[in-house]
């Protein structure tokens, strides 16, 4: 009897509150409940490059908050979907399929690791959705697909830059060794570096590889030590680079260590400890070189997350901003998802001169025919007293 009564009550409630006639307040909901615009942010939130992913997520969240607090995109709310590729190409393919097949996602900010961007490239290309990477620098990431873009330099430039910096700016460097990660990023950067080093007359005495997720580098470091180079260029990510620097100093190597943007993470400092001291590295952006907007963004970031932003947070902040800009100008609620995805691509592709560029905290971003960013500079940082600081001498122009 009581069950029967409860049942009746439930039915009553559902019919009163749940089944209101649909036409009663549709017009109200349409203006009140905004339509959501969904953009995926694909990065390594777990795994060996998780420290990068964390900064990417935070940078994206800051931008998302700012956009939505300012009323969204033409009144529509921006929702970011964080997709974890764990820094592995195999995971990245799965993530890319999931994103490409989701008819609500308009564009992708990501991936971070070059291998992951490449794994996604073909899938995004087939589905016709923009892949805008805030971190992949391997040369081939933007080649061969009209849907891939990045808002930072590529390794053809970075490798050349590092070789010239070692030769022209630092003194007493004549012989160099390369210790590289055996993946698309590490190999590509090594090739660019080695080509330039040979051209300008640096002697390459050793070129050793390591596999991602290795933790013991003593055998290779002992080989490198025997060749006695003046500088060792680590072409890889902070996870391994921090241990290489640490184990290298333990093994008695006094050579100058030089890293690239893959080393640019606060975790490099915590793992390598005092061995990190004096290590040089290149980076696509540093807050010291940014304008007032960059300082404002850094302050807002710290207020939201309680930590200072890094290069990747800033580049992601800009990448989300670029998608926002494209959506503001092109999004048409009546059009199909394919048309809207296409419109974003056309907008990004139209940013092709300094005048027609996106102005973000990391500087002006505009693309060449491949979707590669043109004319964004590289900066050099050095580890001093356990902190990254801008190196005294920067290299402005490449020869």
């Amino acid at each position: 009897m009581r069950n029967w009564l409860v049942g009746l009550l439930i039915v009553g409630f559902v019919s009163v509150f749940g089944c209101q006639p649909p036409d009663k307040n549709t017009s109200e909901t349409q203006t009140k409940v905004q339509k959501e615009l969904k953009v995926a942010v694909a990065a390594p939130y777990t795994g060996g490059s998780a420290a990068f992913g964390e900064m990417i997520r935070r940078g994206a969240e800051l931008r998302e908050n700012e956009i939505n607090e300012a009323g969204g995109i033409n009144g529509m709310k921006l929702t970011l979907l964080f997709e974890d590729d764990a820094g592995k190409p195999s995971e990245a393919s799965l993530v890319a399929e999931r994103i490409a097949n989701n008819p609500q996602i308009l564009a992708v900010v990501g991936h971070f690791n070059s291998d992951c961007s490449l794994a996604g490239q073909e899938i995004y290309d087939r589905a016709g959705i923009v892949e805008l990477s805030p971190g992949s620098t391997a040369v081939e990431v933007c080649e061969g697909s009209s849907w891939t873009f990045r808002n930072l330099y590529h390794d053809g430039f970075q490798g050349k830059f590092i070789a010239q910096y070692l030769d022209n700016v630092l003194t007493g460097i004549e012989s160099v060794a390369v210790f590289f990660d055996n993946d698309a990023y590490g190999r590509g950067l090594r090739n660019a570096f080695v080509a330039e080093a040979e051209k300008i007359g640096l002697t390459l005495v050793a070129s050793e590889a390591y596999e991602r997720d290795s933790t013991n580098f003593k055998a290779q470091l002992t080989s490198i030590k025997a060749k006695n180079p003046d500088a060792i260029f680590i072409s890889g990510l902070y996870t391994e680079a921090s241990l290489i620097v640490k184990q290298g100093r333990e093994a008695g190597i006094t050579a100058q260590f030089f890293g690239a943007d893959g080393v640019d993470s606060p975790d490099f400092l915590t793992i390598a400890g005092s061995a990190a001291e004096g290590t040089y590295l290149t980076t696509p952006f540093t807050f010291g070189a940014g304008g007032a907007e960059a300082q404002q963004m850094a302050a807002d970031f710290e207020a939201l997350h309680g930590v200072a932003p890094d290069t990747w947070a800033a580049l992601t902040y800009d990448a989300v901003g670029m998608i926002q800009d494209a959506l503001t100008k092109t999004y048409n609620a009546e059009a199909t998802i394919a048309d809207n995805r296409q419109a974003i691509r056309e907008h990004l592709a139209s940013l092709d001169t300094p005048e027609e560029s996106y102005k973000g905290v990391t500087g002006l971003t505009y693309f060449d025919i491949n979707g590669d960013t043109v004319n964004k500079p590289a900066y050099v940082k050095i580890v001093k007293d356990g902190q990254f600081v801008a190196a005294e001498k920067q290299l402005r122009e490449l020869k």
Partner: protein
């Protein structure tokens, strides 16, 4: 020449660590014919527990090492009690799958507790002689013995090698000279008959797990001294150590020790002289070559009575 000597020491240190882990695989296999895939995770817990003891509880390093060994011994026994003992008479495949499951559970537990971020023993928590670092101005190296020809031998590596040798000898004595050792050998020969002779086989198995886990914990701490401590460290080192156990002849303790040294040396010499990108591959090729020629491993008995 100096490089050769230094590489040889690198290989011995790595091999000693592999040997300590491999012993844990081989002892358990010898007694219950189970490949304990969770052993690599116990090795990882050994490193994390010692790290917790020195950083969170501020316990001196030299107390944290035996404490972590003790905790891991208990963890090993607990895993046996909860996961393997109920399956003692089940088909062997069930226990094997359970082992893989336990391995995944422990790995993800570590990820939940300590996050996936790599950690290291903070320098200030370690005894000073374990930290060797080059003086950038003079090129002098602290806490290391200079080798002829310009190489160096850090005190830390000496300590790791000495401790590994001492533990190996102690284990050997334990197995051949004590009553529990005799019981373990008896169980390895025939568990049912041992039981009939009045040996409490479940207790013997628990002790086997405890010893193997304690040795694994020491190896974990040794790795943590110069490499990262991560939730997946047990997988990478565990696979290499398992290869060492198979190479030596699984079930044979001396074989596991030597197998560990051989894999360690092969890995380092492969990386140092052949191709650095394939250091693990080279170690595995050697293992496969040995297994092809001697299917029971270097020291394994070629009898088929275990089946």
């Amino acid at each position: 020449m100096a490089q050769l000597l230094e590489q040889f020491i690198n290989g011995l240190v790595l091999g000693g660590i592999y040997a300590l882990i491999a012993v844990g695989y081989t002892m358990v296999y010898g007694i219950i014919q189970l490949i304990n895939f969770a052993h690599g995770e116990i090795f990882m817990f050994g490193a994390y527990l010692a790290l917790m003891l020195v950083t969170v509880f501020n316990i001196p390093f030299w107390i944290a090492v035996p404490a972590s060994m003790l905790l891991c011994a208990m963890l090993g026994m607990l895993i046996d009690l909860v996961a393997y003992r109920p399956l003692r008479d089940a088909p062997r495949l069930s226990a094997l799958i359970t082992a893989i499951g336990i391995s995944l559970v422990l790995q993800n537990l570590a990820r939940m507790i300590w996050s996936a971020r790599p950690q290291l023993f903070p320098t200030e928590t370690l005894p000073a002689f374990l930290i060797s670092e080059v003086n950038m101005q003079t090129g002098e190296i602290l806490n290391a013995i200079p080798l002829p020809g310009g190489g160096i031998l850090p005190y830390r590596d000496v300590s790791i090698l000495l401790l590994a040798v001492v533990l190996m000898i102690a284990l050997n004595r334990l197995i051949y000279l004590t009553k529990i050792g005799k019981a373990m050998r008896a169980c390895a020969q025939n568990r049912v008959a041992s039981n009939l002779m009045g040996i409490k086989t479940n207790q013997v198995i628990a002790v086997t797990f405890a010893i193997g886990s304690a040795l694994g914990a020491v190896a974990g701490i040794m790795v943590g001294l110069s490499e990262n401590i991560t939730p997946t460290m047990g997988y990478y080192k565990g696979v290499a150590a398992f290869a060492a156990a198979v190479l030596g002849g699984i079930g044979n303790i001396t074989g596991a020790m030597l197998g560990g040294i051989i894999i360690g040396l092969a890995e380092v010499f492969g990386a140092g002289y052949i191709s650095s990108g394939y250091r693990l591959a080279i170690a595995y090729i050697i293992m496969i070559a040995v297994i092809v020629i001697r299917p029971s491993g270097l020291f394994g008995k070629s009898t088929a009575n275990r089946a």
